[in-house]
């Protein structure tokens, strides 16, 4: 048994799974960039192969299920430690049991995948709401620093919603961005912090929103703990209503 190292892409991960079945059996799969050499287990880097990846992809769809494929993809997007090896273990069981695996919530191979996938989809859904655009005059710009790599899960939603607009959604943590040019979007490297300038109107809307946000809270029902549970502090630096501007007396 050996450790496979891959380039970090989903296709690379699936290629490693392929290799584990048709070449040498895998002990674990790890991203090449972060691999800690272990003297007891030999390792090999797999070359991402789109044909092999495609085969594994369709095999999961056909022999296991769409749902499993989705769970695996979401787990791949997570920042979970050893996620690749967990995916490998899940697939090994899945190819044995087929669709049945979707009902085995409590299995040790299944539970971590389910839980991780849920975390990722939860964060993505949350950012459908928590993303904030600013109008630069020629396009809308949003920054986020999510725990998981959720950009790809946000793109379609905003491309449909803002179909007539050009926009950039910038994951500052990963140096990536979704760039959309009226419905067509792609993901690209976006390493630099670019200082955009904003119009007066943009500032006005931010003020209006902050005011609105402080107005709607009902004093007798204050519940900061609950608020923090829903909007963790780590998300707040990019939220217009939690950053200072017009009246910050109610903001914290």
């Amino acid at each position: 048994m050996i450790d496979y190292l891959y380039d970090g892409s989903f296709d690379g991960l699936l290629t490693a799974v392929y290799a584990s079945y048709y070449e040498e059996k895998a002990q674990g799969i790890f991203p090449q960039a972060a691999y800690q050499n272990n003297f007891f287990v030999p390792s090999r880097t797999v070359e991402t192969d789109l044909v092999k990846a495609e085969k594994v992809y369709h095999a999961i769809e056909r022999k296991i299920s769409d749902l499993s494929l989705k769970h695996i993809f979401y787990t791949y997007l997570s920042n979970e430690a050893n996620k690749e090896t967990k995916i490998l273990n899940y697939l090994q069981l899945g190819f044995k049991l087929g669709r049945q695996i979707d009902d085995l919530h409590a299995q040790p191979e299944v539970l971590p995948i389910r839980q991780t996938a849920r975390k990722v989809s939860f964060e993505a859904e949350r950012f459908l709401g928590l993303l904030r655009f600013k109008d630069t005059g020629s396009f809308l710009y949003a920054v986020l620093e999510p725990d998981h790599h959720i950009l790809i899960l946000l793109a379609d939603h905003f491309a449909d919603r803002l179909a007539q607009e050009r926009f950039i959604i910038h994951d500052r943590k990963r140096g990536l961005a979704v760039v959309s040019n009226c419905q067509d979007w792609y993901i690209t490297d976006f390493p630099e912090e670019i200082g955009f300038t904003y119009s007066e109107q943009e500032k006005d809307y931010q003020e209006l929103w902050r005011l609105y946000f402080s107005q709607i809270s009902i004093e007798n029902r204050k519940n900061k703990k609950l608020q923090t549970q829903f909007v963790p502090h780590r998300y707040r630096r990019h939220l217009t209503e939690f950053t200072t501007g017009y009246s910050d007396k109610n903001i914290n």
Binding site: L104, R132, H157, R161, W209, L211, F213, N223, L226, T240
Partner: protein, 412 residues
């Protein structure tokens, strides 16, 4: 322009905040060549300092009002700053917020300025600008002004996603007492009209594919009841909700703990804390009716007209029906599982689906998401009972009695 807007926003957002319905859920729409779409699951955009989900720009058209409802901040006799938005101001604000992803849509309500018809007409104009000029496909919820011309109600409903007529009080007496200018028939008439249009529109759409371009309020209608302004019992409230759900196919009844804003001998004193826990229990009771197949009479019977504060209504019901327990997890039907305290909709489904593959052990239950803290007193698993005390209401009550002050939870 903005300073004027800012001042008005301060007044008119403040006046709207007591309306608790805030969901944007229930309708799935794609953008068809304009701006916006709608997700059936609903999206929260932020959470305010009271821990509530903010999804819609919730705002009053005006807080001038010719009526004088006792429990309302905006009533005619109150000496408060007043303002009115023009339809265009509201439409521009909604679009400006929407583009920046602050909101999912608009929830427009209003005091009654001049007359119900004038007010309803202006609400219609906002929708006309948003839908026909900006081609906005996001979510819009509007309040119907009781007493407005049915023609206006109809054309507004063809542009809105949801409409609501607030009943505010759960009984005719309380409504008479606290809102003497309103009447139950005046509130029920538009509800009835909306319900008729929804049914009629649905059958027309079935018969002729191109019958109506627009669906009439595709996300349905809702209403709100204020809890604790009058003396009505929980039984009166829960029964009223059940009747509303049945009669008008309401999507939601919202409950709003009364926050004392006015001094009146008819109302609780100004220092009274809003009954938040009671409101929470009512939402749980409502939830049981909508998703767990409970009848109002099972939740609050003649002998127990108020919901218990220490226990949620499902476990209260179980305490009154101990002869049904313990239930065997591997044999109980889906409907029976739903009645077990600690088992929710999802865990009940998971139990059923996993049971098809393999018998369920006690160990599995936790991973499935069952709250064993409660459930263990009400179930057996492969014939074993894990409660460690006899299956007896009094003993289980003691075992489960809340230790500290119950935390206020919220469902939005």
């Amino acid at each position: 322009m903005v300073m004027g807007t800012l001042d008005k926003l301060a007044i008119l957002a403040d006046g709207a905040k007591y309306d608790v319905s805030c969901a944007s859920s229930g309708v799935e729409k794609k953008n068809k060549g304009g701006i916006g779409n709608s997700k059936a699951f609903g999206i929260c955009h932020t959470w305010s300092a009271d821990g509530r989900c903010v999804s819609l720009l919730k705002i009053l058209m005006t807080n001038y009002c010719i009526y004088n409802c006792t429990y309302c901040v905006n009533r005619n006799q109150n000496d408060i700053p007043r303002a009115s938005f023009t339809p265009r101001e509201i439409a521009d604000l909604a679009i400006g917020f929407y583009r920046r992803n602050y909101i999912e849509g608009l929830f427009l309500s209003s005091g009654i300025e001049h007359s119900p018809n004038k007010t309803m007409e202006r609400i219609y104009q906002v929708l006309d600008i948003l839908r026909n000029e900006y081609h906005f496909f996001g979510y819009i919820h509007v309040k119907v002004i009781p007493g407005a011309d049915p023609v206006l109600v109809k054309k507004t409903g063809l542009l809105a996603d949801r409409m609501s007529v607030n009943i505010e009080q759960p009984s005719e007496q309380s409504l008479k007492l606290l809102a003497p200018q309103k009447s139950l028939p005046a509130v029920l008439a538009p509800m009835n009209q909306i319900s008729d249009h929804i049914l009629q529109n649905a059958s027309e759409r079935r018969l002729y594919r191109h019958a109506q371009k627009n669906k009439f309020v595709p996300a349905g209608q809702s209403t709100q009841m204020i809890v604790g302004a009058s003396n009505d019992s929980d039984r009166v409230i829960v029964k009223a909700s059940e009747a509303l759900y049945q009669r008008f196919q309401l999507k939601r009844v919202y409950y709003s703990a009364y926050i004392p804003v006015n001094d009146s001998p008819l109302l609780p004193a100004l220092t009274t804390a809003p009954p938040l826990l009671r409101e929470h229990r009512l939402y749980q009771a409502d939830w049981l009716m909508r998703f767990y197949q409970f009848q109002a009479d099972e939740i609050v019977d003649e002998r127990t007209p108020f919901l218990e504060t220490d226990f949620d209504p499902k476990i209260s019901w179980a305490f009154r029906n101990m002869h049904l327990f313990p239930m065997e997890i591997n044999r109980a039907s889906y409907e029976e599982l739903l009645r077990v305290p600690g088992i929710g909709l999802i865990s009940a489904q998971r139990i059923i689906s996993q049971r098809r593959v393999a018998a369920i052990s006690y160990d599995h239950l936790k991973k499935i998401g069952v709250s064993l803290k409660r459930a263990r007193y009400f179930i057996t698993c492969q014939g074993h009972y894990y409660g460690a005390i006899p299956v007896e209401a009094g003993l289980i009550r003691r075992a489960l009695a809340p230790v500290q002050k119950p935390v206020q939870l919220t469902l939005f």
